[in-house]
């Protein structure tokens, strides 16, 4: 077990911290990036950062919250965003036209997943935090480092963009 009262996790405690929190962080990162490899890298980077700062965390029992915030921050940071965008373009090539708009069947989910990948990172992060992590608007605002109003706006614009782009795809 992790001794969360200790000042700094040792090697064994670090492995425990990893087992307890990183799988969820990888899933979160996967929903943010859409790429399993990138997700793992992102979660590992965030974990390393949080472990490094463990002794300075104001609440060491809230490691998962710090890890979540670190994952999102890393994802939305400018440098990583550019890298991910380059990687995405390299992998995916230009967007393809899809004929199916019916939801929630499998093809529809594929479309939704694909369109989700075209959203700006903060919009996507807001949607993932609200609808996957089930965070409140206030908690989402804390993670994203913005106001509740900004979270509302990000979620609304993200949802609208998803609807519009799927509709556009269906008309093609």
């Amino acid at each position: 077990m992790v001794d969360e009262t200790s000042s700094e996790p040792g090697q064994g405690a670090m492995a425990d911290l990893y087992a307890r929190y990183v799988p969820a962080a990888v899933r979160l990162a996967f929903l943010l990036t859409g790429d399993p490899q990138r997700a793992e890298d992102l979660a590992h980077d965030a974990f390393v950062r949080c472990v490094g700062r463990f002794v300075y965390l104001r609440s060491q029992t809230a490691f998962d919250a710090y890890l979540r915030r670190s994952v999102v921050n890393l994802h939305t940071s400018r440098i990583r965003r550019r890298y991910l965008e380059r990687e995405w373009l390299r992998r995916e090539g230009p967007p393809r036209a899809h004929a199916t708009t019916t939801l929630p069947d499998v093809e529809g989910r594929e479309d939704l997943w694909r369109v989700l990948g075209t959203l700006p990172p903060r919009q996507r992060a807001a949607l993932v935090l609200r609808y996957y992590e089930d965070l409140s608007e206030q908690e989402t605002a804390t993670v994203l480092g913005c106001s509740v109003a900004a979270v509302k706006s990000l979620v609304a614009r993200g949802s609208d963009a998803l609807r519009d782009r799927i509709a556009e795809g269906g008309e093609r």
Partner: protein
């Protein structure tokens, strides 16, 4: 719940649930975590040191006797540098010079040729202004080549536990300045090993030479020799450092390609990220400037292929530090580096998620001064700085007060009686500092207090001023920095004088202010040493409502006092 929200929730949980994730921590991640812990703790320690240094600096500005000018940057840090394939670990403070460019700068051979050819006149030129010639036979040339005397070979790397000029050589090389080996000095001299040389020649040319080893480039076309040099009083620790380097050089194979640096340089910082090695060199790489002083970053990939940055010149006082970024692995970590002026005391990188990394400030190597014109030497008062950061971010710069930085209104010193009264010395201009006093009921500002230099030119007697209220007076005495109060007696209840010497570079540098409160109706008697009052007369001060009266001694009051407003 609307349709998109519902669909997203299902999509997210399906996708996330379908992702195979291991709960076993990869060893590499745990190692990175451990390294991160160490580096964060080190950075935290460094920050504490910086905070303490800043606090000490702040105290020194108004404190007793210690220098207050910008904290000197730390000396050269420990460096493990790969200099064109030669890995050298230099302890903190040691001199490490990359002399590879010398091979292309120093002539090791000279060639003399004579040419001959025959020609015949072919008639007037079209302009009729003379004749032209046309060669009729093959020109011949006779050349003779002489080897320049380089008994110890052209140095490529020099390491020493002492400072020496950039154009200096630890072994005898005619074109370079010979460096005397201190008794406790140790060094390693690495040079190209010319075929005409013998190992005995090399040892003879290196005073203190103790042992040597040889190695070659990868194609074994060029041989190199490394000589350990040890002074008679060298410490065992330093000797073992040299021995370790010598052992590591034996049998080394260095890259065949030419080094990229164009001028020799002091290696002031170095590191690697696992795939890329880097080093920052200080020397004279800047073309087109009078001094040529500058710093460059040289990186080498895993194959030893080197790349050199554009040189970065020193920064003038008052200017922002220059900053360059070299991406490192893992992304988005980076080396940020540059030069800063002498008034910069700390530089920090703050990442978007708030991680602060303090930069290391390194002084320009002392050895550069001996090869820099007098008029350009002030450029060497600044620093070269660098930091390894998790992610490039905002650069925060802290500067020490200076002549140009000392603004009107700057508080030079602040204190209190621990009860109701507090005071501060506020800089007005180069001729005026004012005492500002605050209590819970009243506040006031005194007349101008001059620098001690002005008082000294008018007889060198202390000046007494202050802010005088109807219940309390706060007295200030202007003294030279080396004056001390031999005795302080009062029939009141206030504390002893709060004395502060100003060290900020200004007219007030070397002026000491001693401040104490005195209740109205109370008296204080002060005896200064000879530095404070050559006449040695005790000074008696009696506080009266709205004024003070000097009851003994010869100190002047010259209008420095100012009645405080009535409560």
């Amino acid at each position: 719940m609307n349709d998109v929200e519902h669909d997203l929730r299902e999509l997210f949980h399906d996708r996330a649930g379908s992702l195979p994730v291991s709960a076993l921590a990869p060893e590499t991640v745990l190692r990175r975590g451990r390294r991160r812990q160490v580096s964060v703790v080190a950075a935290g320690t460094a920050m504490v040191v910086v905070v303490v240094a800043i606090a000490a600096g702040a105290i020194a500005i108004v404190g007793s006797g210690r220098t207050s000018m910008p904290a000197a940057p730390s000396a050269l840090p420990p460096r493990t540098a790969t200099i064109h394939g030669i890995q050298v670990s230099a302890p903190a403070g040691w001199t490490l010079i990359d002399d590879w460019p010398l091979a292309s700068l120093l002539p090791t051979t000279s060639q003399t040729c004579s040419f001959s050819a025959t020609g015949i006149p072919v008639g007037p030129s079209p302009a009729g202004a003379g004749t032209s010639t046309e060669t009729t036979g093959q020109p011949s040339a006779t050349c003779s080549t002489e080897t320049a005397p380089l008994p110890a070979g052209v140095p490529v790397v020099q390491l020493a536990n002492f400072s020496f000029p950039l154009d200096g050589s630890l072994c005898h090389v005619e074109q370079l300045r010979s460096v005397d080996l201190p008794a406790d000095g140790v060094a390693v001299y690495v040079a190209a090993f010319d075929g005409a040389m013998t190992t005995a020649d090399v040892l003879d040319a290196c005073p203190g030479g103790r042992s040597l080893t040889t190695f070659a480039d990868r194609s074994v076309r060029t041989l190199y020799v490394a000589v350990s040099i040890v002074g008679p009083d060298a410490s065992p620790g330093d000797v073992s450092t040299v021995d370790r380097l010598m052992e590591s050089l034996g049998g080394l194979r260095i890259p065949d390609e030419q080094p990229v640096a164009t001028s020799p340089g002091y290696v002031v910082a170095a590191g690697d990220d696992g795939t890329l090695t880097w080093r920052i060199e200080a020397g004279f790489p800047v073309r087109g400037s009078s001094s040529g002083i500058g710093a460059t970053l040289i990186t080498a990939d895993e194959n030893g292929h080197e790349t050199v940055s554009d040189p970065v010149a020193p920064v003038e006082p008052g200017q922002e530090p220059s900053a360059q970024t070299q991406p490192l692995r893992p992304e988005p970590s980076a080396l940020i580096w540059g030069t800063s002026s002498r008034d910069v005391t700390s530089i920090a990188n703050v990442t978007p998620d708030g991680i602060t990394t303090q930069a290391t400030l390194i002084p320009w190597p002392e050895g550069l001064r001996s090869t820099t014109a007098e008029s350009d030497q002030s450029q060497l008062d600044g620093s070269i700085w660098f930091a390894i950061v998790a992610e490039p971010g905002r650069i925060e710069v802290t500067s020490a007060p200076s002549v140009t930085g000392l603004q009107r209104g700057a508080v030079l010193h602040a204190g209190s009686d621990g009860a109701d009264a507090s005071w501060s010395l506020v800089y007005q201009d180069e001729q005026c500092v004012r005492l500002q006093v605050d209590t819970s009921s009243i506040g006031g500002v005194g007349d101008c207090l001059p620098p001690w230099a002005d008082l000294e030119s008018h007889g060198g007697r202390p000046l007494i001023g202050g802010v005088y209220g109807h219940q309390l007076a706060v007295i200030v005495i202007v003294l030279p920095a080396d004056a001390t109060i031999d005795s302080f007696r009062t029939d009141g209840t206030g504390p002893n004088p709060d004395c502060a010497t100003i060290h900020v570079e200004s007219n007030f540098a070397g002026t000491q202010f001693c401040i104490f409160p005195l209740a109205v109706g109370a008296t204080a008697t002060i005896t200064l040493d000879a530095n404070g009052d050559p006449l040695g007369s005790p000074i008696g001060i009696a506080a009266q409502p709205g004024t003070i009266e000097l009851t003994e001694g010869g100190a002047r009051t010259v209008g420095a006092g100012s009645p405080a407003p009535s409560p």
